[in-house]
Symmetry: C2
């Protein structure tokens, strides 16, 4: 089970799971104002990296509100790395990774699978509490008490987070070595209608920094004049 957003991190994780010999089932979510661009990217990435199946679960977070990713709050632009990590940003969606991992757990158990891969990152991350190792460990402990497979000993669920201690540049290096085409991936929180990235949201800035540190140009499409701001 690989949680696949269509972004750079989860594409790399899918490639890593495949390289470890796993038959990968990829799971994406459609929720609130999530952009179709990302889901189309996820489908292309799943195909390119040889996932057995790519499922999209419809989830209804609109009644939750309170985040720039699911409501009309403005996505912050042009922030420094210091500002990004100083506090939890408005792009935080309450309990998002918990909801995503819960669906992955349900699917994993129904498939007889025990390994769930998630592309969280505690280093170059944007300050989300549900990207930290202590959260992941707590979810894993809970998962093994929550399920028939966990309780009966049929499976020992494991949440794999192979990127958690890597920088964005290290993630890109690892993915390139495994043949990931980052031109297929999309990370922008606020893309244009044609899917082109804004270049200035936290996610674009972190991504561009990674490519820049490696002396590379991000192959994903950006809006005119947006690249490298």
């Amino acid at each position: 089970m690989v949680l696949l957003s269509g972004g750079l991190d989860s594409a790399t994780v899918l490639a890593m799971a495949r390289a470890q010999g796993f038959a990968a089932h990829a799971l994406s979510f459609r929720y609130g104002q999530r952009h179709a661009t990302e889901l189309a990217a996820a489908a292309e990435v799943a195909r390119a990296l040889g996932a057995v199946r790519h499922a999209v679960a419809e989830i209804d977070l609109r009644f939750v509100g309170g985040s720039a990713l699911t409501s009309d709050l403005a996505v912050p632009k042009g922030r420094s790395l210091e500002a990004m990590t100083a506090e939890i940003p408005v792009t935080y969606v309450p309990a998002r990774n918990t909801i995503f991992l819960s669906y992955a757990l349900a699917w994993a158990e129904s498939l007889g699978a025990a390994d769930i891969f998630l592309g969280v990152n505690a280093l170059d991350y944007s300050g989300y509490p549900d990207c930290r190792p202590e959260y992941i460990a707590a979810f894993e402990a809970m998962a093994n008490l929550a399920t028939k497979a966990g309780v009966t000993g049929q499976a020992r669920f494991r949440i794999h987070t192979p990127l958690i201690h890597l920088t964005k540049a290290e993630i890109i290096t690892a993915g390139r070595a495994l043949g990931v085409d980052y031109g297929l991936t999309r990370s922008c929180y606020d893309p244009a209608p044609d899917g082109a990235a804004c270049g200035t949201c936290d996610s674009c800035l972190l991504r561009q920094k990674g490519f820049r540190e490696l002396g590379l140009t991000d192959p994903a499409p950006y809006q005119p004049g947006a690249r490298g701001q």
Copy 2:
């Protein structure tokens, strides 16, 4: 935040939360083959017990499969209590309470609420792993690491399970003392199209046993000849 299925247990929990002085937000789910009867019952119960709001989240578990409640597997009928508790039944839905609690956590955090009520029961229960106290404790620990409110100390999330050590008869006694109209509630796993209960699934049998022990008749509608089997 009260998770409200429209059944006997969650209606009692809503009454208990209200009696403790909480302004209650009730949350129900529409998923797979879940019956419209239950959601209509949940709406009536929420209104009768003075919930501030009743939200229904659409969740998509069909890709998960593997349970009699979301697929075409037959619901077991006429089983003894021993048979019900000897193993985890086919009505088990992988990670269901984990998904439900994750949504409740998201909504609670967005409302600035910290108290989540769930009507699980470890005594007269049907052998589900996600109805046990150790699971609830693990979810609560995870929730406080998963969220902005938990991590910043704005809230200490608590999963309240006031029924966990009660028998069905004790639950009914408590609910009647708080004015719950059990005629509005629906528990059957396999109701007729008009919502009438089958009287023979695990859920009907446990419910009827509770009323019988109190010398009461279950006021919910049953299919002709089904009551008291």
